[in-house]
């Protein structure tokens, strides 16, 4: 089911022990230690709280959650050879320790694990597992399918190495096929080459499909249960996978693969006319319904917020159960993300053993929970105090 080396049946603890950041946006030089429970990063707006979470999430995915361009994280006016560096120490209860390092320059990105360079981004995934919860998350429910696919991909790739490999192979095959389609004049399209790339496209599309199906089925059940607990009413949350083959069921992996091949082969003429691959894993979506009504169209702001909170909590649970160790919760801007009732719902549902790193303007929002928390005060990208 999953190929990460640390995965096993038993539950072990994993946490981010410390982080060291250099030249990352307004964070010139920052060293932080975290507790294994609640960590509260506070400060006024624009002091670097979100930058800090962005840097932290680089250790999870090797990418920014705010920009596609790595160079954008270098400080404004940085020298041509400037290097933004993030280094984190991940500790596991079974004694495993990993020093993860991501260094970004205008020339590119370097990833090191325990001082050894990692050639592929995939080598980093699964070392530090986390669920990120930000104020922009509501867009996942309101916006187009790309953000929903991204949410699935980021979570599932952290717990299933095979999924990440399938995604990478699929997107390579898609790039090749789309290039053949784009440059093709209809009569002289290289149909024999397009047909040849249909095979890997279908192979990896079918693999992605099977993994998404199982993931979304499990995620949907957990989210429905959580939603019912947070908003006790007659409303039921349902998650539906809108897949490329319109929900068709298959008796075997071979049958699914054949169906994917037929879809790709059958679409060649349409795809040539339109100059791109119109159907496949890159067009899939998930749909959320509340008692049978499309949440995206009909959901109130409150229903959307509760649904998003349920989804993120469901991801935390699922990652813990599938990988055998708890993921870290990273929460950006507590106040704007969650109102008081939902904040309480979140905190009562978090495991005692779950490491949480959150940012807030107002630490008092946490009430008595602040007593057992580690607090970190940021101002102008610098650490003012910690306790």
């Amino acid at each position: 089911m999953n190929g990460w080396p640390e995965s096993g049946g038993c539950k072990i603890d994993m946490r981010l022990q410390s982080i060291s950041i250099r030249n990352f946006r307004n964070l010139e030089s920052l060293e932080l230690e975290f507790s294994s429970g609640l960590n509260v990063i506070h400060g006024l707006n624009g002091q670097g709280k979100t930058n800090l979470l962005e840097a932290m999430f680089y250790l999870v995915t090797g990418r920014s959650f705010r920009t596609h361009q790595d160079g954008a994280v270098l400080p404004l006016g940085a020298a041509a050879d400037a290097v933004a560096a993030i280094e984190g120490l991940v500790i596991r209860e079974n004694g495993g320790r990993n020093r993860l390092r991501v260094a970004i320059s205008r020339q590119g990105k370097r990833i090191l694990i325990d001082e050894k360079p990692v050639a592929q981004l995939a080598g980093l995934w699964g070392r530090l597992r986390a669920v990120l919860f930000t104020p922009d998350d509501l867009m996942i429910l309101k916006d187009g399918p790309a953000l929903r696919r991204r949410m699935i991909d980021i979570t599932l790739s952290q717990i299933d190495a095979g999924y990440l490999a399938a995604l990478q192979n699929y997107s390579r095959a898609l790039r090749q096929r789309n290039l053949l389609l784009r440059d093709a004049e209809e009569r002289r399209a290289p149909r024999d080459q397009i047909l040849a790339f249909n095979a890997p496209l279908a192979q990896w599309g079918a693999a992605i499909h099977e993994k998404r199906r199982r993931f979304l089925h499990d995620l949907g059940e957990r989210a429905a249960r959580l939603y019912a607990g947070i908003a006790p009413s007659s409303e039921t949350l349902e998650l539906e996978y809108r897949d490329a083959l319109h929900g068709k069921k298959f008796s075997s992996p071979e049958a699914a693969l054949t169906a994917w091949r037929k879809m790709m082969d059958g679409n060649i003429e349409t795809d040539i006319r339109r100059g791109q691959t119109l159907r496949g894993a890159h067009r899939e979506d998930m749909r959320l319904e509340l008692s049978g009504r499309d949440l995206r169209q009909f959901g109130s702001q409150g229903q959307l917020r509760t649904a998003m909170l349920s989804l993120r909590l469901a991801e935390l649970e699922l990652m813990r159960d599938w990988s055998g160790e708890p993921a870290i919760l990273m929460l950006d801007d507590l106040a704007s993300e969650l109102d008081a009732p939902r904040r309480n719902q979140l905190f009562t549902r978090l495991d005692a053993g779950l490491q949480t790193i959150l940012t807030t303007i107002d630490p008092e929002l946490l009430g008595s929970r602040l007593e057992n928390a580690r607090t970190i005060h940021l101002q102008d990208g610098r650490l003012i105090s910690t306790d």
Binding site: Q168, N169, D192, Q193, L195, P200, Q203
Partner: protein
């Protein structure tokens, strides 16, 4: 000196620093050593070319494998690169002939079928000597597509087409795969459908 450094710098994996180090090393070494090196580079270029039948590296028109009368012409193993031929030869388990494509299909990189020795392979099959074609392109997206492309064109000209799926790791190529793995996958090769 500068001319030599910039020539060395053009070689793969040789950066500016390494090029300078090599140049200084050659400067301080014996004259005979430097002469031997330049002579062997020239001889290599003059004597070694590509086999006209299989496109492996060759001294003369045909490579040593194509010239060897003991090899079995009924099986042709299709590989991407001459280094793959070396990897197969090291196992000693394959007794047929080869066909080197010179790469694998990649529209993004501009590698079209015309840039590979696919047409020559189809011409070669016309004689009817080959009964089995083993497609041993890399187990990658592009390698799989290349194998399928060849299968579709060659299936009318040869009885059996098999595929070697080497390794499970994506992007592993034959020249990093050990002999035992190659031998096992040769024995376990399956028909392509």
């Amino acid at each position: 000196m500068e001319a030599l450094v910039s020539e060395l710098n053009r070689l793969p994996t040789i950066g500016r620093r390494s090029a300078e180090r090599l140049a200084f090393h050659l400067l301080s070494s014996d004259l005979e050593d430097a002469q031997a090196l330049s002579r062997s580079i020239l001889e290599m270029r003059e004597r070694i070319g590509f086999c006209q039948q299989c496109h492996n590296i060759a001294e003369g028109e045909l490579c040593a494998i194509c010239r060897d009368g003991r090899r079995d012409p009924s099986t042709i193993c299709v590989v991407e690169d001459p280094r793959d031929v070396l990897a197969f030869e090291e196992t000693g388990a394959f007794h047929g002939l080869y066909h080197v494509l010179g790469g694998r299909l990649s529209p993004v990189k501009g590698v079209t079928p015309e840039k590979l020795h696919i047409h020559e392979l189809l011409e070669r099959l016309k004689s009817g000597a080959a009964r089995e074609l083993i497609l041993a392109t890399s187990p990658s997206v592009d390698g799989d597509a290349t194998a399928l492309y060849i299968r579709n064109l060659a299936q009318a000209r040869v009885e059996l087409i098999t595929r070697i799926g080497l390794g499970v790791s994506v992007g592993s190529s034959l020249d990093t795969t050990d002999s035992i793995t190659i031998q096992r996958s040769l024995e376990g090769r399956r028909g392509m459908h």
